[in-house]
Symmetry: C2
Subunit: 336 residues, 2 copies
């Protein structure tokens, strides 16, 4: 591998001169610098990121912590989309992406230790159990952190507008004439809590009284759980006319249960999902769902993290709300 030393020998200058020439310092003669850069190019010189990181204490490397309970992590489409856009934005700013985990090899580590060990300049945290002490340790540490869909006082957060999204969804189905609206939610996380709160608040604003039995618990990304929840709703004396699901995957599980029971969609019961995965608009009927703007969220998270890293002085924790968009499919019908 070509190093600075190799170049310095070829050019008959010191290593310091080469380094300065390549980094555009002003105390190097313009011609000398040009020559050095020329030679460096010819020799195919590449700076060694490792050596640089060691000396400068800055790695130009961002850690991402994406782990969900099922450890399916990336299989959740919403998160793979976020990851992809985080990656693109980080790269544009000159940062690479490294996954953070526990226990790298045989060595037991927590997330913070792993990030430190790898000299990450910052970390983006998503799709984890935010009550995990290891996560809390990380976000409260000296490492700049941006969280996705969760707020800590100690760091910036990029949030999908769950409150606004749920409100829009409820108002939409209300506008279609629905009054008996049921909500199947995912496991209790901050996201679920926000959607639940927004659901109740919006219903109240619209003058709707939602019976307790209309609120059902399921699990994110779990068609079976939502199927069961759906069955419970169908068993009620007074069936809802519309059911909201925690995500599109669960949504489809619910639709299956409805069809199995001979309930037509949206003829007998209307349904809507959340996430707006690409497939939702390919399937027939097209799913009515609230699309979370994963791309913007990832980009925004990366942008903010880079800003914190590069301008730590001016930084104060900030929450950024990313709006989504209602995708009006064919699963909610108008009723009188």
């Amino acid at each position: 591998m070509v190093t600075i030393t190799d170049i310095s020998q070829r050019c008959n200058v010191s290593r310091a001169t080469v380094s300065k020439a390549l980094n555009g310092h002003s105390d190097i003669n313009a011609e000398t610098a040009a020559h050095i850069r020329q030679v460096a190019k010819e020799m195919g010189y590449l700076p060694n990121a490792t050596a640089r990181a060691l000396k400068l204490g800055v790695s130009h490397n961002i850690g991402v912590l994406f782990v969900d309970k099922t450890s399916s992590g990336l299989s959740h489409e919403y998160f793979s989309q976020i990851l992809e856009s985080v990656k693109q934005e980080a790269e544009r700013s000159g940062y690479d992406i490294t996954f953070i985990s526990r226990d790298i090899g045989a060595v037991p580590m927590d997330y913070y230790e792993h990030a430190k060990y790898r000299n990450c300049d910052g970390v983006i945290v998503a799709s984890v159990d935010f009550t995990d002490p290891a996560v809390i340790k990380l976000v409260n540490s000296d490492i700049p952190t941006v969280t996705l869909d969760y707020v800590f006082d100690s760091c910036s957060a990029v949030l999908s507008d769950n409150v606004g999204g749920m409100a829009e969804l409820v108002r939409y189905v209300y506008g279609k004439g629905h009054r008996k609206i049921a909500f199947i939610h995912g496991e209790i996380t901050s996201v679920t809590q926000k959607r639940l709160a927004s659901f109740h608040k919006t219903c109240a604003e619209l003058g709707l009284t939602i019976p307790e039995e209309y609120i059902e618990a399921a699990t994110f990304h779990d068609p079976k759980a939502s199927g069961l929840a759906t069955r419970r709703l169908l068993a009620l004396k007074e069936r809802p006319t519309c059911i909201l699901y925690p995500d599109d995957f669960s949504f489809i599980g619910g639709m299956n249960e409805l069809e199995r029971q001979g309930v037509s969609i949206p003829g007998d019961i209307s349904v809507a999902g959340y996430d707006g995965i690409p497939l939702s608009q390919v399937l027939r009927p097209r799913l009515t769902t609230y699309r979370q703007d994963a791309e913007t969220m990832g980009r925004e998270a990366a942008r903010q993290l880079v800003e914190i890293i590069e301008r730590p002085k001016e930084w104060i924790p900030r929450q950024t709300m990313v709006p989504g968009k209602l995708l009006e499919g064919d699963t909610v019908r108008t009723i009188e």
Copy 2:
């Protein structure tokens, strides 16, 4: 941050001794070593991966190159699953994962340069245009490489059994009584070529003559393209009784077109996909599709790469074929 120097001062020994104690060298007294380890633990010492990488020339870092044409990269579920299992396996062996790309920041780089710059010990390559000179440069370089779904002489490869998969699929629908089998394929890649070849070969073995018009071109992961191809097939005088699609996403696009034209599935026409994405078994009707074992592929790729990295002497390029599995859904019917 706690460094080796800090520990050496606390223990009144040299830095060399600390390093050796922590790495279990035999020329350190057992008691001394125990004490040093104890103190290191108390002080919360973490080795600095950067310094280590610089000195040892080994980063314990694996690059992954996942870029598809639409630069949607990870949005392709097959690849996010592979990535996830690559990550898990790599971590178990003590390796971290970093994404490789071009042009990190303002600096123009090719994949090889990027991997070198980051001191990657090896790279896993998938979902790229394998005719890209930058990719070819990488796989032919001194950096150990494992490719997914593509074979170079210069490196090991992990392959989904496209030949076997397609053969199984064809034989399955043949077994169901189908004789007029159409095949919509993705853009021409090595994967497509294998499936095409296997399709023809298997049909020939079964004594089937497939008219040219039954072979249609579309694009991977593109429901519109497959919809159009489907329309062309439906316009034929002699319609096929079964259509095979390049992947499940395209598959669904094709099904939509069929339904739009009032063709019932599988009553009028049978259909089958490829990939076996999780949703394929949640949707109703359940999709008949050939499931690629992404998890095994990722794990195998990581395992082999680690082996090449750690035992370069004994290594010879090897191809590993990972079998998939036919998921028998409800989209292929039996005909007399």
